[in-house]
Every structure is written in structure tokens, then in C-alpha cells.
């Protein structure tokens, strides 16, 4: 295994990690406010296609990125309307969002499938730091979205843990009636959280179509929205653990193609012979393992999941 290959492994880990972290961060905001959104895959697809198309029109990756976030928020708004305002089942509404979002993305993008990208994000190459051996390439020569995502992660943590808004959001995720009684608007808090989550998912989609694999084709999100949903459970609904989990998931994604070209033997087993197909299910296996650990560790205590997660709130039914 050469030095370049090893550095490449970690560069790709950070990039795949950023992709799923950005989407999962949005899902975390939504779930902490008590709304499960299984529509991440659909919102990412809408973000990917709209980001790519705006990129074609404007030639600016940033315009494309923020347009994708806006579209994601709009699509998330649909979930907010159906499940928060109208109080419909969150699982059904979320699944509908994934199915509908993927279909709508395919329709909207039908004329730009396989089109040559007009613009894309490029690696930043931070002066002075990017040249540091090993660390430079991995940490200081990434596309700007990577750094923005790190900043967003810190911001989400700060808002949730240290501000009144965060307190209200967490409260509405634990008990909507109580929050209502205190005088906060359950609907505004939850809808806002869902739409913010949509914006994050849309932005993640644009990172995919403007950097990871520039272009648009149906199916290009390829299940990463579901990884984001799993990642929130893996991270036990905390931004810090979410970041660690994202790096771990990113590592398994980056390992898939690379393990095949490495010659590594561990304890007499030729590691590079592990089938990449098997490696692909690792994130989901890890999530199940963490779920089991969580339910065992919290068997005498309340679970780390928001207590009101998945429960619609209607005032009359109090």
C-alpha cells in the first residue's frame, strides 16, 4: 500500500463522511424536535438535481448549492405540512416524500441526464497548510463544502445545547403539550426544524452532484439518504457522536474500492479478499449493533431518543 493510496483513503473518508454528515445533521434537527423524516433520500435527490440544473444555468457552484438547500427546505415543507400541521403519520408521509422526491427529481431532471457539468466545487488548497505532509491533503485541501459542514455541525450543536431556541426545540421533541403550555408554537418549531432538515439534505444532494460525482442521473443518491437516517440513531441524537459516526461510515464507504487494491494481512486473513459487496452493508450492521447497545445500556433509564419522536400533536387531543 503506497503513501498516496493511504492518503487517498482518508481524503475520501472525509468526503463521504461530509456527504452523510450534512444530510444526517438535518435529520437530527428534525428528530430532536420530535419529527421523524424518512424522506431524506428524496430530499437529497431533489437537491442534487436542482443544484446541478442551477449550476448549468448560472455557472456558480455556490448559487447552485444554496438553491439546492432552498429546494430541500421546500420539499421538507411538504412533510411539515402533512405530518406536523395536518398531523398525519410521519412514517407514511416520510416514505411518500422519498418515493415522490425520487420520482419528481427524475422528472425535473429528464432533460439534463448525462449532461456535461458547467461548474463544480474545487479543492481549496489552503495556503501554507495544504503542503503539510499527510495532514495537508486530508484536512486542508478539501472542497469548501467540507469546511462549511464542519461549521454547521458546530452551529447546530451550539444552538441545540446553548440557546433558548435549542431548548424549545428539544422540549418540543420531548413533550409537545408541555411546550405548548409554556406558550411556544409547536407547529412553528416543528415545521421550522423539518424545513431546516430539508435544507441540509438538499445541500448534501448538491455536494453529490456538484463535487462527488458532477452531473445528474436518476438513482445517483444510491441509498445515502438512508445511511443518514441510520446515522442519527448511530449518533444517539447528538451532533458530536454523529460526526464520529459519519467519519466511520465514510471510512467504510471509502474502503470499499480501495481494500481490493491493498495487500493487507491481519491475523493470517487476507483482508483485501473481503468482498466489497459485504463491506457495503457494514454501515447498516454497525447501526443495528449500536441500537442493541443503546437499548441495553438504557434499559433502566429513558432512551436517548427524543420521547415524542414520531408522535403527531393536536391540541384538542391533549
Amino acid at each position: 500500500m503506497s503513501e498516496a493510496a493511504l492518503i487517498g483513503l482518508f481524503v475520501a473518508t472525509v468526503q463521504f463522511g461530509t456527504l452523510v454528515f450534512l444530510a444526517a445533521l438535518g435529520e437530527l434537527i428534525s428528530e430532536r424536535a420530535g419529527v421523524l423524516n424518512l424522506g431524506v433520500e428524496g430530499m437529497m435527490a431533489m437537491g442534487a438535481v436542482s443544484g446541478f440544473m442551477v449550476g448549468l444555468e448560472t455557472g456558480s457552484p455556490w448559487a447552485a448549492f444554496f438553491a439546492a438547500a432552498a429546494v430541500g427546505a421546500l420539499v421538507g415543507g411538504f412533510h411539515a405540512l402533512v405530518s406536523v400541521v395536518l398531523g398525519a403519520d410521519q412514517v407514511v408521509s416520510g416514505l411518500a416524500l422519498t418515493i415522490g422526491g425520487l420520482g419528481l427529481a427524475a422528472y425535473v431532471g429528464r432533460n439534463v441526464v448525462g449532461e456535461r457539468p458547467e461548474t463544480q466545487f474545487t479543492d481549496l488548497g489552503i495556503a501554507g497548510l495544504a503542503d503539510i505532509r499527510w495532514f495537508g491533503e486530508i484536512f486542508f485541501d478539501q472542497p469548501p463544502v467540507v469546511y462549511l459542514t464542519v461549521g454547521l455541525g458546530l452551529a447546530v450543536w451550539f444552538v441545540l445545547a446553548r440557546t433558548r431556541l435549542g431548548l424549545a426545540l428539544r422540549a418540543v421533541g420531548e413533550s409537545a403539550p408541555t411546550t405548548d403550555a409554556v406558550g411556544h408554537s409547536v407547529m412553528a418549531l416543528r415545521s421550522g426544524a423539518v424545513m431546516a432538515g430539508g435544507a441540509f439534505a438538499g445541500a448534501a444532494g448538491a455536494f453529490l452532484s456538484l463535487y462527488m460525482a458532477p452531473g445528474w442521473t436518476e438513482g445517483m443518491v444510491a441509498g445515502r439518504g438512508w445511511i443518514a437516517v441510520a446515522l442519527v440513531i448511530f449518533g444517539a441524537w447528538r451532533p458530536g457522536r454523529l460526526a464520529l459516526g459519519a467519519l466511520l461510515f465514510g471510512f467504510t464507504l471509502a474502503l470499499q474500492p480501495r481494500l481490493q487494491s491493498f495487500d493487507i494481512e491481519l491475523l493470517g486473513v487476507e483482508v483485501s479478499r473481503i468482498s466489497p459487496a459485504l463491506l457495503g452493508i457494514l454501515p447498516f450492521v454497525l447501526t443495528v449493533v449500536v441500537l442493541v447497545i443503546i437499548s441495553w445500556r438504557y434499559r433502566h433509564r429513558p432512551s436517548p431518543a427524543p420521547a415524542a419522536l414520531g408522535l403527531p400533536y393536536r391540541r384538542e387531543e391533549r
Binding site: 498516496a4 416514505l95 448525462g114 453529490l208 460525482a213 438513482g219 480501495r258 466489497p276 459487496a277
Partner: protein
Amino acid sequence: MAKKLLLKSLVVLAVLTLVAAGCGNDDGDDEVVAAFVYVGPPGDAGWTWAHDQGRQFAEEQTGATTLFVESVPEVAEDFRAVVVDFIENEGADIIFATSFGYMDPMEELAGEYPDVVFEHASGYKMNDTNFGNYFGRMYQPRYLSGMAAGAITEANRIGYVAAFPIPEVLRGINAFTLGAQRVNPDVEVHVTWTFTWFDPAVEGDSAAALIEAGADVIAMHQDSTAPGLAAEAAGARWVSYNSDMSEFAPDAFITAPVWNWGPYYARIIEAVASDSYTPGAYWGGMDDGIVALAPLAADVPADVAAEIDEVAAQLTDGSWDVFTGEIRDQDGNAVVAEGETMEDGAMLGMGFFVEGVVGSATG
């Protein structure tokens, strides 16, 4: 699951649209109606795009009416719904199905509708009256593309991003490698399996990983352009597949083995129009033009370009074929003896890598 549901809902939508559009249309006129079932969107620049080019060509050549439904999942009931609608409501006389997974439901439908011709791409089932299959000897232009890549590589290390370890893909990798070795005996072809036909992020990252590991040319058996974009970004070179994708990575592009389905589609439509159709197991090569090599990049050395033309001529006139001995597998065992040529059956069931390929033939 979600993807399947989506596709189902899309199919239902497509079928409904067709039903609405097809009302009042019935069979019995003289004009041939040829209907195509695609597994992906025609805009993919890859597999389905090539079939759709063929459809348009055939429509122009024969004047027949052609129809298509895109992104039909390889699920029996979905496929059946689309085909039955084509026949019952659109008066389709020929059904072209362009993915392997449609084979079994197609066999059933061929029995139920004896007056309709069924033609299946990449399958192996057929009958004596109205059900045939067709495919192309893609390994022939792959060999030629290997010659170009072998001449271009300076690292003597070519990376190959491949979807699944099935005979069709193994055959392509082996042919490519033999071609590269012909002009460059020291060349190694390193294979990375993605286990997906379509996931641009993984395909692009696989190409990047092969380049990091030392490859300076990327070849592929995938449907997206992502490996080429990764090669272009890393300053490496690229052999694309399915169609000439040079516009996506103009600096990286070397050449591509490409599909050209049009003439075959036109021929089948003509045969049905003149009532002379008989089903067959068609496996055409460069001689028929169903497969071809895209134009070469300017920096392919002139002597190699000339040799590629020579070999292409031999493949076209049938005087020589790619899997002609002596050929050894990865372990050095002779699999085709000196002077012998591998039979079609053995080629269609190929399960090994030739010497010079680095990677596992079982994934």
C-alpha cells in the same frame, strides 16, 4: 425497497399515460409498430442511450412507428404490464426488451402472444416461432481499445472499474488486457469491483482509488461518466464504454468500445414487415457493425493506430478472433491452446482472468 416502489409508481404512471394516449388505436394496419422496453432513462449517455439511438435510427430507416417506456424494473409483473399495454392498446408487432432480467416473463409472453415478435437483448432463451435474442461481441472493440490504452500508459498499470463479476464483464476485461499486452507486454490491468451498475459516486471514487494506487489509465464496465471525470481531474487517461464520451473528459479520453444497435433493429423490423422473420440467437461482431471502436485520441502513436486498423480488419473479415491461443489464466494455466480459438459457448460462460489481470475473478 423505496427505489422499487418508486419505479413501480413510475411504471404505473407511464402505463396510464400510454393508455390515455393509445385509446382508439388498434392493430390490423400494415405499418409495423415496434415497442422498446428500457431498463434506464435514455439520457444516461450509456446503455439505454445507445439502444435509444438504435431505435431512432431504425425508425428513420424503416418508417415504422416506434414506442418506448423507460426505467422499467426487472420485475416480472412490471415488465408484463408494460408489454401487455404495448400489445393490447398500441398494436405493437415487435417488442424489444433491452435488459437481461426481462428474460423469463418475456418467454411467457411470447407463448401468450404468438402473433407478436419478441426480441431480447443479452439473454439466451428463444423459441422456433416468435422469440429470439441478440447481443454483440463487445469483446472485439474492447480488445482494440486495450491496444490503444496499452500504448498510452507510461506506468504500465491500467485501472479497470467494473460492475459485477459475470461472464460478460470478465470477457471484456480479458479482451482489453490481451489487447493491451499485444502492444505492451509489461502492462498490468488492476480491477476494482463496484457491485453496482449505477452509482456515480462509487464509480468515480473507485477510479480515483486506482489512480492513487499507481494507474495512469482508467477503463470501465460501468454506465456513468464518473470514472472519466475522476481521471480527468487527476490528470490520468480514460477509455469509456457504451458511447463516445469524449466531450465529458476531452483531455483524458483515449477511445471507447461502443454499441451500434440501429442496423439490427432496422433489419428485424424489415423482416417482420415482409413476414420473413425467423427467431435466432444473434451474437454479431465488428463484421456487422453492431459493435465498433470510437475515434482514437490524437496522441495514440501512428504505428499502433495502424495496427488497430489491421486487427479491426481481421476481426471484421473473420480471419482472426480475440480469444485465440495460447492464452493463460491468472495462475499460468493454459486455457486456450496454441493456435486454437475459444468457442462461443466457452466465451459466454467465461469465469477466469487472463494472465496480467490483477484482482479476483469472483469479486
